[in-house]
């Protein structure tokens, strides 16, 4: 491999590192985020022959990152148990984050995190990709491996559910 090609790849890594880290962290890599992302970039490099020329690199990479993050939980029994573990790790990160200068009040933050916990795993994933990670609809579809139409309909349903859960929590607080 010529060094120029390596340099070009290093440039791609630099450029996409942050979104890769955020994706891994929010999709369940937790404390292993950095390791998951390094491995994903190395795998992407080894698999460049499956990368389609002319298509965007970012969603292709993020799908590999997502699979790496999911693989962490492979040993953890059945699907339901894996899903619970995955979200528990993400939630811990979000709760520990609690920044001082956030535009969100601590109360709203906590409400959002617990409302996300109540969501069905598919709804949570699509909300995570589209809004927490701020991917566009096509990228979300690519990362989750869903048809675009499914992303659209899931998203709108998931937002409605979140609103309902948040409203119920608020009522509970003021009761």
């Amino acid at each position: 491999m010529r060094s120029g090609e390596r340099d070009a790849y290093a440039g791609l890594v630099d450029r996409h590192a942050l979104v890769a880290l955020r994706t891994a962290a929010l999709l369940g890599a937790g404390a292993d985020t950095e390791d998951v992302v390094q491995e994903a970039f190395a795998k992407a490099y080894a698999r460049l022959d499956t990368y389609r020329e002319g298509s965007p690199f970012r969603p292709w990479l993020l799908r590999i990152v997502t699979n790496e993050a999911r693989n962490l939980h492979r040993g953890a029994g059945r699907r339901r148990e894996r899903e619970r573990l995955t979200w528990a790790r993400t939630e811990r990160l979000l709760v520990e984050a609690e920044p001082l200068d956030s535009a969100l009040s601590a109360e709203r933050r906590a409400a959002l995190v617990s409302a996300l916990r109540e969501l069905d795993v598919r709804d949570r994933e699509v909300v995570t990709c589209r809004y927490l990670l701020e991917l566009d609809e096509r990228e979300t579809a690519a990362v989750l491996g869903w048809p675009r139409g499914t992303v659209k309909s899931r998203l709108s349903r998931a937002l409605r559910r979140l609103e309902t859960i948040l409203a119920a929590t608020q009522e509970g607080t003021h009761a």
């Binding site: 090609e5 390596r6 790849y9 390094q38 690199f57 969603p59 927490l132 139409g149």
Partner: protein, 235 residues
């Protein structure tokens, strides 16, 4: 007008507060992993071409900043990766490989962790099998089609075809391969599993919930769609 702007804004804010930072050491660590991997046996000759293409893409991205080029159709459909335009011949359709008997459909369904469907219009399947890694369940009918199912959350098949048609099953996106094409199994991370390449005949791919279904056989599109729409969860 997008719905619920306030909620969406707050979710984005929550995402941005994630304590994750890109450390310049990350790139060095990645390049070290790649360097270590390069001491292993040779990679495919196509690799270099692909890297050249990546560089071209990078240059293009730098030249026109907001390029969010369309994700090509190949990218992902359920658990299937499709690559169009570089398939082999579109010769006579291939016969799907036979399924080794031994399991009933219900026994097979107990070995996988996704929802399994059957096609009652075809009668009881002649055979059912589950791949060794438990990721693909297949049903076969006497002299007839074959139905492969897998979880949409994981990669399973890659297909190279000269063309693919977008169709609808119950109003949802589906893909129709009218010609013979190549198919290869993928491992969970999307890498090709060696020696699993085979030619495949006409195939319809659709999803129901989180299951990706793949119906292969000597069928017309109309017949394949009718069968797909008749799919029922296996009790």
């Amino acid at each position: 007008m997008p719905e619920r702007p306030e909620l969406r804004r707050d979710l984005a804010e929550l995402g941005r507060s994630l304590p994750v930072h890109a450390d310049p050491a990350l790139t060095a660590a990645v390049m070290a992993r790649i360097g270590a991997a390069e001491h292993r046996p040779a990679r495919s000759p196509r690799h270099r071409v692909a890297v050249a293409a990546l560089i071209a893409v990078l240059v293009a991205l730098l030249a026109t900043p907001p390029v969010r080029a369309a994700i090509a159709d190949w990218f992902g459909f359920g658990s299937v990766v499709v690559r169009t335009g570089d398939g082999e011949s579109s010769g006579p359709s291939a016969t799907p490989p036979a399924i080794s008997p031994g399991l009933s459909p219900t026994q097979a369904a107990e070995r996988v962790d996704f929802k399994v469907f059957h096609l009652p219009d075809l009668g009881d399947p002649a055979a059912a099998q589950v791949s060794a890694d438990g990721r693909v369940l297949s049903l076969g009918w006497e002299g007839g089609p074959r139905l492969d199912q897998s979880s949409s959350l994981s990669y399973t098949f890659a297909k190279s075809a000269q063309s693919v048609e977008r169709v609808f099953v119950d109003g949802r996106d589906a893909l129709w391969f009218a010609d013979a094409h190549d198919v290869v199994l993928l491992d969970e991370s999307g890498a090709r599993i060696p020696q699993t390449d085979r030619p495949a005949g006409r195939t319809l791919i659709w999803t129901v919930g989180d299951t990706t279904l793949r119906l292969e056989g000597d069928l017309t599109l109309a017949r394949a769609l009718a069968l797909a729409e008749s799919a029922q969860p296996l009790e």
